[in-house]
């Protein structure tokens, strides 16, 4: 299919439709309004249903019902709305239902602002709602990758019967870039019929009950351990990451995800021109986090720089990956302020200068 110039939000909407999603429940919030608007316009054309919920609290419970019926279902929101959805998300994870949730992050806490941010990393990767559960979290860095990952997200959700979150920021949502949708797409995981769905048993099978209530602690513990086994499988099989400039010697390894990694990639080019050795490591899955891959990439580096639009959230996973083996520096902006390639390059140069001074004094 030909390339088409699309806004990130629209590409995400179209990707959901290409993945066979016919249901959207959501509530307006900036900066992702183009997703529900796109679905309101597009779903009726493909025989689907769009419902504007009265709130994100309601929307998250609507997708719970729809997913329990065995249908592919999707919602999107931005940070404060995602907070409101945590009730539903926790029930969905507990009931093992497949849904896709897109979070176009904006700056917080509280009402915060509406400009791009990566301040929901903890919420997305470490829980968010109550209870002992995990989301599979995918972080695209371009509009094309957002479209690809949203389609994969539906397959992953169905395969693991688990909510999958696509974590973007305001830039991904609002920018326009060329996108290409594959005409024939093979699911990224083998899919089986949803025999567990509550679709009316007609007396020909035992009843299916969508439920997360287990009053017997032994039963609930077994349920928790079953979920844990599922998360362990994700850790084993679903890690995705990318590295740039690691084919040449580098002193500093930059770690960043999403659009921030794009900014860092430009800095990388500028640094190369100036003869400074730097490389970039980009986690694409945030849960599961590419601990081993990052540790390997950092082996030949002398220092690591983590760049985030937050006060430092992913850096905690970087620390876990490196186990104190390398000094870790941090560059962050908050509140919707962006990081420029120049700022990244400047920081890398400062780190390199520090390393050289160390050598002289050492």
């Amino acid at each position: 299919m030909a390339k088409k110039l699309m806004k990130g939000c629209e590409a995400i909407g179209e990707a959901a439709i290409k993945a066979g999603c016919k249901l959207f429940f959501g509530y307006p919030i900036t900066p992702q309004n183009e997703i529900p608007e796109y679905m309101a316009h597009r779903l009726p054309q493909v025989g689907g249903t769009f419902v504007q919920a009265e709130s994100e609290v309601a929307a998250s419970n609507m997708i719970y019902g729809a997913a329990g019926s065995g249908e592919r279902v999707f919602t999107s929101s931005s940070s404060p709305g995602i907070s409101l959805m945590q009730e539903g998300i926790s029930y969905i994870a507990g009931s093992e239902l497949p849904v896709v949730i897109v979070n176009i992050m904006r700056a917080g806490p509280g009402l915060g602002g509406i400009l791009p941010s990566q301040s929901d990393y903890f919420q997305a990767t470490k829980g968010g709602g109550h209870g002992d559960y995990r989301l599979l979290v995918l972080a695209p860095w371009s509009v094309q990758e957002a479209a690809d990952l949203v389609q994969d997200a539906f397959d992953l959700a169905d395969y693991y019967r688990n909510p999958v979150m696509v974590l973007g920021d305001g830039l991904i949502g609002q920018m326009m870039e060329p996108v290409e949708f594959r005409a024939e797409r093979t699911p990224c995981k083998p899919l089986s019929p949803k025999a567990w769905a509550a679709t009316g048993c007609n007396g020909d099978r035992p009843t299916n009950i969508i439920n997360s209530l287990f009053l017997d602690p032994e039963v609930l513990e077994r349920h928790n351990q079953k979920l844990k086994a599922k998360y362990d499988l994700m850790v084993r099989d679903e890690v995705r990451c990318a590295a740039y400039g690691t084919d040449r010697p580098y002193e500093v390894l930059i770690v960043a995800y999403g659009t921030v990694a794009r900014v860092c990639s430009t800095a990388l080019d500028d640094l190369r021109e100036d003869g400074v050795g730097a490389a970039l490591f980009r986690p694409i899955t945030l849960f599961p986090f590419p601990y081993a891959e990052l540790r390997a990439a950092a082996e030949t580096a002398r220092a690591v720089l983590v760049v985030e639009l937050s006060t430092g959230q992913m850096i905690e996973d970087v620390r876990l990956a490196l186990e104190g083996s390398r000094p870790i520096h941090f560059l962050g902006r908050q509140g919707g302020m962006l990081i420029s390639p120049e700022a990244v390059a400047e920081r890398v140069n400062a780190i390199c200068a520090g390393l050289r001074a160390e050598v002289r004094h050492g």
């Binding site: 390339k3 110039l5 900036t30 900066p31 602002g113 509406i114 400009l115 305001g170 830039l171 609002q174 920018m175 326009m176 870039e177 060329p178 659009t259 794009r262 900014v263 990639s265 430009t266 800095a267 080019d269 021109e273 962006l338 990081i339 420029s340 390639p341 120049e342 700022a343």
Partner: protein, 192 residues
Amino acid sequence: MQNDLIIAGFGGQGVLLIGKMLAYAGMADGKEVSWLPSYGPEMRGGTCNCTVVIADRPVGSPVVERPWVAMVMNLPSLEKYEEMVKPGGLLLVNTSLINREVRRTDVRVVKVPANEIANRLGNPRAANMVALGAYLGATRAVSLAAVEGLVRETFAGKAKVIDSNLAALQEGYALGEREAADGKVVPQEVGA
């Protein structure tokens, strides 16, 4: 090679539209492109801007802090972006709405009376097209033919609007080309 520019003006001046047209035209010319709008409270009646990157290889940062080119359609935009343009870069100034001189001496300046030209052509809303034309004439960032095709597509079915927008685009292009030929602006080979 990478062309990047920021287009800025009042909401309603069509700065987002011409930015999109540049991105579409760049894509049609086989280049890599990104278009990033400002969004937020400033969308409502205030200033707005967009960043367009047109490149020969995948676009790195869609965020550009020091643009090579700034097209400023009103005074607040000149105030905001004059200092940000890279030395040796280009400031394209809508002199119809900006009555002060550019202070920078290390950038090239193309003055475009965009609103006056659009008014004279009988379509006051086509000032953005005049400015877009001037940018193309001065830089050849994408082909004029590709943009003309987009004008026909955007306003399909409205023959009069197409004609006046094409006229605005072409008049702007001639102006930009003239400025370039005078040696004030060199058609650019920007970035690395």
